[in-house]
Structure formats: C-alpha cells, structure tokens
Symmetry: none
Subunit: 216 residues, 4 copies
DNA sequence: GATGAATGAGGGTTCATTCAT
DNA sequence: AATGAATGAACCCTCATTCAT
C-alpha cells in the first residue's frame, strides 16, 4: 500500500520524463492540474491568474482552454482530483490490518505532513470557500459537498468500527469524524502560524483521543 | 455582562437613531465597517467590490474613501474591529465566576451562534487567509497575528487555570487553545455544509472535553 | 517707480495682515489667486487640485466656488491677474527716461529673476498651454491672446522707438519683440535645467543685441 | 541625406503595407508611438487618455498594455523616440559640407516646419514639463535631460566650429546653442498664435545671427 | 457667507477569454 | 493541436462640484 505522501507526490512534482507527446497528450491535463493545485493552494482562487498556471505548466494560455472550459471549471477539477486521491488513500488505510486508533493516527500524521509540504491547508481552505457565495463558488459547492460527505463517511466508518471494538466510546460517528478532520487542520495550522515550534502531533492526537478533561 | 451575541449586534445592525449628523459622521465609519464585515465575510476579499460595500452602507463609492485609505486598509480595519470585539468578550467571560469548563462552554456556544448568524466563519477564515500571499495579505498578516496571539492567550489562560483547578489534565495550554478554537469552527462548519441537521453542540464539546477514547 | 520684482511680491507672499474680515472679504479672492498662481505655475493645470489651492489659501474648498465658477475660470483669472501686473510693469518701464536698450535690459533682468523665484516660466508656460486643445484651454486661449498681444505691443513699441533712435537696426518690431520674450524665457530655462551654472544674463542679452555673427 | 521633414514622416504616417503579422507585431508599437506623439503633443500628458491613444492607433485599450507598462512609460517612450529622431537628424546635418551658418539655417527651417505640422512645439513643451513636479514627470526629467544635453551639445559643436572658422564671434557656445533652440521655438510660436501672418523665418534668423543692435 | 462631507463620473489598469494563425 | 496577441468588461481610485448645515 502506498502511503499518503507518496500518492500525493505525482501531484507535487513535475514529470517531464514524458516519452511521446504530440497526440492530445493526456499528460498535459495532469500537468495543468498538478501546477494549478500548488498555485491555487498557496494563492487562492482570485489571486491566481490563468497565466500563472499556464506558465507553471509550461504551456500557452490558450492551450489551457482546450482542456478546461474556464477558470472555475479548472478549479473544480483540481479540487476533485485532490479529493479523489485523498479518498483513495483513506480507503486503503481503512482496509489495513491495524487498530482503528492506529488508522486515525496514521491518517492524521500523513495528512498534516502533506499540508505542510503544500504550504496550505488547501483541503480545508476549499471547504472554507464553500462558504463564499458567487457564481463560481456556487458551482463548486455541490461537487465539493459530495466529496466531503464521502471523506466524512470513511472516517465515520473507522470510528464506528472503533466503537464496536470498544476502542472508542459511543458517540455520533459523523460528528466525531468532522471533529477529527478539524483536528488535522489544527495540526497544520499551529505549525503554520508559529513555524518555529513544530506542533507535537502526539499531543494533538492525545487531545483528540482523550479530551481535555481530567479523568477521575 | 453582555453575552457575545449581544456585543456583536452593534456591528451587525444599523443604528440610524442618531440625532444630528453633518460633521464627518462617526456613524458612517461604523456603518461601513458593519456592512463590510458582512460582505467580506461572505464573499471574501477579492469578490467583494468597494461598490458593494458602499451600496450596502447606503453611501457613494467616493465617500468610502473619505474614511479609509483604500480597500486593503478597510479590510484590515474590519478585521481589527472584529477581533477587538471578540477579545473584549473573551476577557469578560474570563473574569466571570464559573468553572473553567463552563467558560469554554459559554464561549463556544455564543461563538458558533454568532458565526452562523454572520453566515461565515470569518474569524477563522481570516486566519486561513494569513496563508495566502499577496501584497494585501502581507499587510494583513502581522496585524492579524497579534490579535490571534491574544485570543489564543486568553483561551490558554482559561485552560491553564482549569489545569490548576484539576478540571483539566496536564497538557500544553496553547495547543489545547488552538484545538478549542478549531472545535468551535467545526461547530459552525458542520451546520453550514449540512444546514438541515444542526450539529449538536453538546456532543461536539463533549468530544472536545472527554475525547473519543473509551475510558477504562 | 516700483520695479518688477517688487510689484510681483504681493502675489508671491502671503499677506495675513488683513484688518477686518467678515464681510465678503475682497482679500479672499486675492489670496486665492496668489496661491493658485504659485501652485499652477509649479504643478500645471491638471496636477493642481482645487483642494491644494483652497488649503494653501487657508479657506474651505466650497468657499473657492463662491468666488470662481470653476477650476478653469480660476485658471483664467490667475493668468489674467498675472498678465495685468506684467503689463502694468511694462508700461511703467516704457515711460522711464533711459535708452531703449536699457529698458529691454531692465525688463529682462527683472523678469528672469521673477521666474526663477516662482520656479516656473509660468508666463510662457501659459502661452504653451494655448497650444493645448481642450474645453478648458479653448476658453483660455482667446483671453490670453489679448494679453499676449498687449505685451508684444509694448515691447514692440520700445523696439520701434529704438529703431527711430538708431539704437536698433530696421527690423519688424513685433517679431523682434517675440524673440525678445523668448530670450527671457531662455534665461530662465537654462538656469532651471542646469541649476548649478547660473546663466550669465549678460551673455544672453549680448547675444540678443549683437547676434551670433562675426562683425566685419 | 534625408531632411528632417522626411525623417519624421515615419512617425507621422501609418504604414499598413506590412505583409504578415501575428507575432507581437513590431508595427503596433510604432503605431502606438506615432499616435501617442500626436495626441500627447496636442493635448498634453494629463488630458490625453489611454483610450484616446488606443483608439487613434486602432487597437483596444488592453492591447496598449502589452507594449507599455503604463501611461507614464508610454510617455517616456514617445519622448525618447521623438528625441532620438531629432538627434539623428542633427548629426546628419552636422556632417554635411556647408558653412556652419547654413547648417543652423537648415536646422531651423526644417524644425519650425515640423513643429507647425505637428501643431505643437512638443519638443519644447516637453522641456517645459521638466518643470512640473509629479511622480510621472520626475521619472521623465532625467531621461529628457540626457537628450536635451545631447541636442545642445551638437548645436554647440556647430557653433564652436563656426567660431573657429571666424563665421561667429567668440561667445560661450552652449548658451548660444540654447538661444538658438529658443529662436526656433519663437518661429513656431509666432506662427501659432497669429496663424495668418506666417512668420518670415528669414527675419527671425537674421535677428539671431546679427542681433537687434545697429552696427556702427 | 462659509464650510467640508458627500457625490459620482471618469480614467488607469488587470486579466479571463477568444480566435486567427 | 497549440499558440499568444488582442480584446474589453470590470474594478479601484481621484477629484471637481454640490449642498445641507
């Protein structure tokens, strides 16, 4: 099984090894998405120009429009791709043989690292943007919601199994799932605003698992 | 003591009760900030046009420039105002006579409601924007960081006192504070993406306080 | 007889000695014109804002509009005033008892100094603007032309008398007059672009009077 | 050798003869400069809108920004181009086999005609603008000064040679050069304010060469 | 008469999108 | 298929002018 960081790499690195081009190259679309992800993630939708992306992808601006209807559609595609990879990863972890606690731990670990590497909580940032009304964002919202639901579902299933296995206490699994995702975000977030003191992911997960309260 | 929702109202509602105007009206500045907050919060910095804000505030575009140097400066002012009110509220809660658990509970309750009313987790969204590079955001970042630090400080102090009082277990207070803020955000967020099923704030806080793990 | 520099002073210096105000103060109009002259001369018509002038004159922007229909009309007034003073000065010199050569010499001397003090060849600059088409400038042109003609007339008359007196050789006096005015401008101009080496006004006038050619 | 009027033409007339375009057309840049020269010269920097120029050049406003960073930069380019052509012309005249007197005569003749054709003493007008403070003009000034110096240099050299050749009397050549340039300007100027009576260029140059004074 | 806050038309600039090559 | 020059709508900001006090 590939781990998250590895799966993600093909999105984070250029792959100019390509053998034969010169036929509606499937790689061009990928290359655009890769680069768009990085730029959108770091600059946001509006600050990112189509030119930036085209240049980063090493193609002409016009070419981009052969593969994507418009900027918004590119954005949606980037997010979709991003989420698909994430979901695939989650599914793989789910099937692994380990305690549910360990699964959540692994997911959190890899995901925080990934976001730090991308220099953006893009994943959550996108969620945030759901918030923003506008023609563009209104188109993004329903698509994103589907993926979000799927992600929450997978996490919730892990938690459900954990409850059955008496690892976790009885609690609405979906709410716990969302809380888990936000815990991950916190991990990224703390590292980002105070880059010196790298957050101790252990403490954070400990907090997530055991809560703040004194046990008696 | 005023509660959060009430404190916020003076930013969310127009106050055209005022007697005599005409002399660089202090109320206009407030009216602009009120409306800018709502629009920036829902649309984000770039999608918001100066015209939108001016119209919402019932003034001409040019008038806005009598009160704010430019769009970015308005944005900073809005955030500052927003944060100042938040900090004042936190300080008041801090001084109240109640358990530290109750304090956090109260803060979370009011804050989630407020964000739902504003239709945006603007507060956290702004934190997110810290991430986004750009001339404008680079100007916003240092200012925001100061306020963020203050907010984290106050929450951390409550947690610290809770630790001393044996309400909470020994854990790095600042990390717990950030985790708490993200928990609040989760509360808003879930309600927002799935508006039908209002999240049970109780469950969420229970999760925050007691953690996911089965106690043994 | 006052010399040019002195006559001009009341335009170049503030006169806050004013006794009684508080009655459609005739001095306000003057104060506006004084200050407008300086600013227009140094900044040009478009870069000068009505606010600049009002502030320099120590009045409110609205007040300015009680005395002048609009910015263009103020500009015309400033130029008129400027020219009137110039013409009065020229007339006085004309009547003096001295050779015509001496008269021209005196005029040139004073005028160059004045322009240097004002930091602008505003006088000629205005002429230049005649060139510039635009609603505003089209209004300025005919008015300016009248004054220009008058100035050329007076100089031409001095030259004519010089011709009669055998001081000067027979030459179309009006052309010589324009040439004389441009010589003055040259004087200012050289000083301006190369401020270190103050032009030797003597050499310049010598050139004007004796020409470049070797005499044989 | 081309004469001034001819050299200038390529700036004053469109050349749509060109074969194949499409590849950042060099001709568009020229077309913009041509038209900008005319409009700037007649309207001045501030009254001229970017739209005016774009329309005159037969392109869209945005297109202009593919070739020039901003309005100020376009202005500088126009002036530079204008000056370069002028300097090239002067250098050519300088090398010709004729008396220095004839050289100056030729230069004055062509230049006055050119300015009249352009309907602006733009050349000198630009010099005037050196005077006007403003961010824009502060950028223009140093560039212009270099070119002005060059022009003065060339004229001064002609005069120097004339002095050596005993055509002209001993006089500071640079001052004489500036005086010469202003004489040209006078020529244009008189024609402009009194369009009926075309100035007799001969008289003017006679004045320049022999001076006003009676010879004895 | 005097004020200066308010106005809004106008201009410079950006950038997503198109289309001729 | 790929290009990138050209387009023009949209947006920020300025400033002459007005008008309620």
């Amino acid at each position: 099984m590939t781990d998250w960081s590895v799966r993600i790499n093909h999105l984070t690195k250029n792959c100019p090894k390509n053998k034969k081009m010169r036929t509606k190259d499937k790689n061009i679309k990928e290359k655009i998405i890769e680069n768009a992800l990085k730029i959108f993630a770091q600059e946001g939708f509006f600050k990112t120009t189509v030119d930036d992306i085209a240049q980063a992808a090493g193609i002409a601006k016009g070419t981009l429009y052969l593969y994507f209807k418009d900027k918004a559609s590119l954005y949606v595609n980037v997010i979709e791709e991003h989420f698909k990879v994430g979901i695939k990863y989650l599914n793989e972890v789910q099937k692994e043989k380990m305690t549910n606690t360990a699964k959540l731990q692994k997911i959190a670990d890899n995901w925080i690292d990934y976001m730090i590497r991308l220099k953006s909580s893009f994943f959550m940032f996108s969620m945030e943007n759901v918030n923003l009304s506008s023609k563009i964002m209104k188109a993004v919202k329903p698509i994103m919601n589907v993926y979000l639901e799927k992600i929450v579902d997978i996490i919730a299933r892990i938690i459900e199994q954990g409850i059955k296995a008496r690892e976790f206490r009885k609690i609405e699994p979906r709410i716990a799932a969302v809380h888990f995702l936000n815990t991950i975000r916190t991990g990224f977030f703390v590292t980002f605003i105070t880059p010196k003191r790298f957050i101790d992911k252990k403490i954070l997960l400990d907090l997530f698992f055991k809560g703040l309260k004194q046990r008696r």
